[in-house]
């Protein structure tokens, strides 16, 4: 593998993969002001979604008239560390699920409620609230679950595949040129430590899929639909790339 990389031969393992000791969150690249905004829970606008999620956690809903709280108890205990293990493999469906999908399935199966639309305030709030409980904990290595390996591999292929009118792959920026600038902004490593996160450009909070759709539009490719299996595979691969880094949810990014 190392030989192939040295020889510059295209291999399924990207030549420019970021070594573990060079991996870092884009938090480090932000201005001091943006960092301060993220660090202060009283100033971090993402905390508004956490607050909303906390209320939804306690809200009885659906035909079952149950709240998340009724099964899971206090999120600060039951949900601690959960986000470090997502996307996770679902044995029943034989597929990988991200946190938002897991929450929606829970709503359907146990609350008899309708699924929340992707990027809706409610789904983002619940996802952020759950992920917040893992803040500071290291992202687990998804490859530890062998059943996830095919999905990680599929995600790796999408990550390395050139697409769109600009004929770019994710890897060309985020593996090969992450230490350079694009139009005056840092390229970043694309580490998925802070999602869902508050983006100043969005004037709001959004999911990793929303961020990836932005990237795909930027490379003039047709973005995948929200919830598409390609996105979950990509999320898994990117989680694998970010393994060991601490969760920052809700992060703030410019």
């Amino acid at each position: 593998m190392v030989m192939a990389a040295l020889a510059g031969v295209a291999s399924p393992v990207a030549a420019g993969e970021i070594p573990a000791n060079a991996r870092r969150s884009s938090y480090d690249l932000m201005s001091r002001e943006s960092q301060a905004m993220q660090d202060d829970d009283d100033a971090n606008p993402g905390m508004l979604w956490v607050l909303e999620g906390k209320a939804l956690w306690r809200l009885k809903t659906g035909a079952a008239d149950k709240a998340c709280l009724d099964c899971h108890g206090e999120a600060s205990i039951s949900m601690r560390g959960v986000a470090t293990r997502y996307p996770a493999f679902d044995g029943e469906r034989q597929q990988a699920l991200d946190l938002a999908r897991r929450i929606n399935l829970c709503r359907k199966e146990y609350q008899n409620a309708t699924a929340l639309p992707y990027e809706s305030k409610e789904l983002l709030a619940l996802t952020t609230y759950v992920a917040r409980q893992s803040r500071g904990l290291p992202i687990a290595d998804p490859a530890a679950d062998a059943r996830l390996q095919p999905f990680i591999d599929a995600g790796r292929q999408t990550f390395n595949r050139r697409q769109g009118q600009l004929n770019l792959s994710c890897a060309q920026c985020h593996d090969d040129n992450w230490d350079k600038q694009l139009a005056g902004n840092p390229v970043t490593q694309g580490q998925v430590t802070g999602y869902p996160l508050y983006r100043l450009e969005w004037q709001g909070l959004g999911s990793l899929q929303r961020r990836m759709r932005n990237c795909m539009v930027g490379m003039r490719a047709e973005p995948f639909d929200y919830g598409a299996s390609e996105f979950v595979d990509l999320e898994l691969f990117m989680t694998w790339r970010s393994r060991g880094l601490a969760i920052e949810t809700p992060a703030v990014r410019p």
């Binding site: 202060d40 009283d42 100033a43 606008p45 905390m47 508004l48 607050l51 909303e52 209320a55 100043l200 004037q203 709001g204």
Partner: protein
């Protein structure tokens, strides 16, 4: 539905300068943008923020379309006596949110 996050120290020494922070959820639609079909999206912003300490106004701000979504206001005041600090945001389309925090001054 709007939510607000406020930060007021629970305790303070009389005469102490305290920091107060207030963050409110609002999309602050400027009124200058157009929808994908070309229609103007009506302005929907918070126009005013007022903070009262035991009924006395200690801070006021007018907000305008250039203010970012989820406006955050931070300021300082002198802790004079125990009581409540009330925060009030009002805006377009009957928007009104009130939050309060207790402070104990010794």
């Amino acid at each position: 539905m709007a939510r607000a996050l406020i930060s007021v120290p629970a305790k303070a020494v009389r005469g102490e300068i305290i920091a107060i922070k207030a963050l409110v959820s609002h999309h602050m639609e400027t009124g200058f943008r157009h929808s994908t079909t070309g229609e103007l999206i009506a302005r929907d912003i918070i126009t005013s923020f007022v903070c009262r300490y035991n009924g006395e106004e200690i801070f006021r701000a007018d907000l305008f379309p250039a203010t970012a979504a989820n406006p955050f206001v931070a300021f300082y005041t002198r802790a004079t006596e125990s009581g409540t600090i009330v925060f009030e945001w009002t805006g377009d389309n009957g928007f009104s949110v009130t939050e309060q925090a207790a402070i104990s001054v010794e």
